[in-house]
């Protein structure tokens, strides 16, 4: 009888130990899963951000490629680009001997777009 009781108690202890082990493993697995999920979410978000940034860069690159480069300044404009106010040279369009003066007469011809 006493042996039976001891055996039963041992079985119960074993069962409880097994249950605790299973619980610990379950909690551990859940924690691991949660951790992995977080890591995965972070990796995914990071990848999406990288992808978006890459796409943005690609768009910029595409935009840049559609705007042709400004042609190089000619050799005759010696002091810089044609847009530079300091770049006037003798090879520029020449100024008139006398500037136009105001007039109130009826015009002989009209200068305008054509």
């Amino acid at each position: 009888m006493a042996q039976d009781s001891q055996a039963q108690a041992q079985r119960i202890r074993n069962r409880d130990r097994g249950g605790r082990t299973i619980r610990r493993l379950t909690i551990g697995a859940a924690a691991l899963a949660a951790g992995l999920t977080g890591v995965l979410a972070a990796v995914t978000a990071s990848a999406r951000t990288t992808h978006t940034a890459a796409r943005r860069l690609a768009t910029t690159a595409r935009s840049t490629s559609t705007v042709p480069a400004v042609p190089e300044p000619t050799a005759t404009v010696q002091s810089g680009s044609p847009q530079s106010a300091a770049s006037a040279s003798q090879s520029s369009p020449a100024a008139p001997q006398t500037a136009p003066a105001p007039s109130s007469s009826a015009p002989v011809a009209v200068s305008g777009g054509s």
């Binding site: 106010a85 020449a94 105001p102 007039s103 109130s104 002989v108 200068s111 777009g113």
Partner: protein, 302 residues
């Protein structure tokens, strides 16, 4: 009279010289049309464009016109570029303007191609040839009319001894002794404006005066409205704050070179013109006016 796809005006200080002046001008314009028209199949320029990549026989007038156009490109750092011919054609300006007005705009699908190969064009005076590289087409529209005005005015003054004004589509050249007070020239967005419609009036005693604008010579396409002053850097119509740029210079060619460059330069135009002491009137798209380089303050036109 009408010529080179626009109107021509000749005025002389001696009424007896007028008939001869008209005749000389008409002859000059016929010669120009045969040499420099992009749309005449029998013109020398059309032959040069057709045979791109080869040296093509060209008479002295076409050679001079090409040299002048290349000079304009050089003096503006390529802002006024005769190699925009292909860009203009692709943008829809592929026939005489009167024909453009008649076509169905929905069928016109423009493309845009930058120019800039003017350094590769060669003019050989010894052999009498002009050569453009493959893939390049010349358009002399920015300078040929002005050159014709300069040449015609000089020819009439020499032949008649009178003071003369020649205007080809608003590209004005004067030669000989001007009348007392100078030649009165109106300034407007359209050279065909009546005297009552001009925005300003100035007098001219020497050289030339030219205007370039984006409100005239426009056409519609499936992608919207286009105008004929292309930015060679993009092959697209120049996006300019100026509707019309009027410039006075030593010659009509120089004036037109500068006025075309001013449209392309946009906001940089006043500094560019001012540094070259070129009197200019820039009429903005929004109605404002900027006067540069000694252009006179305006009186109300008569």
């Amino acid at each position: 009279m009408r010529a080179l796809g626009t109107t021509a005006v000749v005025a002389v200080t001696d009424p007896d010289a007028l008939t001869r002046a008209r005749r000389l001008l008409a002859r000059e314009l016929r010669t120009f049309d045969l040499a420099c028209s992009r749309f005449r199949a029998d013109s020398e320029l059309a032959a040069v464009n057709r045979r791109a990549g080869h040296a093509v026989d060209a008479g002295p007038l076409l050679r001079e016109a090409v040299v002048v156009a290349l000079g304009a490109a050089e003096r503006t750092g390529g802002l006024v570029d005769p190699t925009v011919g292909r860009s203009l054609r692709l943008a829809g300006y592929d026939r005489p303007f009167v024909c453009i007005k008649l076509r169905d705009e929905r069928l016109v699908h423009p493309a845009f191609e930058r120019a800039g190969r003017w350094r590769e064009v060669t003019v050989d005076d010894e052999r009498g040839t002009v050569r453009v590289p493959r893939g390049v087409e010349l358009d002399l529209g920015a300078t040929a009319k002005a050159l014709a005005a300069d040449r015609a005015a000089a020819a009439v003054a020499t032949a008649t001894g009178a003071g003369v004004l020649v205007s080809l589509g608003g590209d004005v050249a004067v030669a000989g002794a001007a009348p007392a007070g100078g030649w009165p020239v109106g300034i407007g967005h359209d050279h065909s404006a009546t005297a009552a419609d001009v925005e300003a009036c100035v007098t001219l005693t020497t050289g030339g005066l030219a205007s370039s604008g984006t409100r005239v010579r426009r056409w519609s396409t499936a992608q919207g409205a286009m105008h004929h002053i292309l930015d060679p850097r993009t092959g697209r119509p120049a996006q300019s704050p100026w509707a019309t740029a009027s410039v006075a210079a030593a010659t009509c060619v120089d004036a037109n070179t500068a006025s075309t460059a001013a449209i392309v330069l946009g906001y940089d135009a006043p500094a560019w013109l001012g540094s070259r002491r070129l009197p200019a009137r820039l009429a903005a798209q929004d109605g404002g006016v900027v006067l540069v380089g000694g252009w006179p303050h305006e009186r109300e036109p008569a």
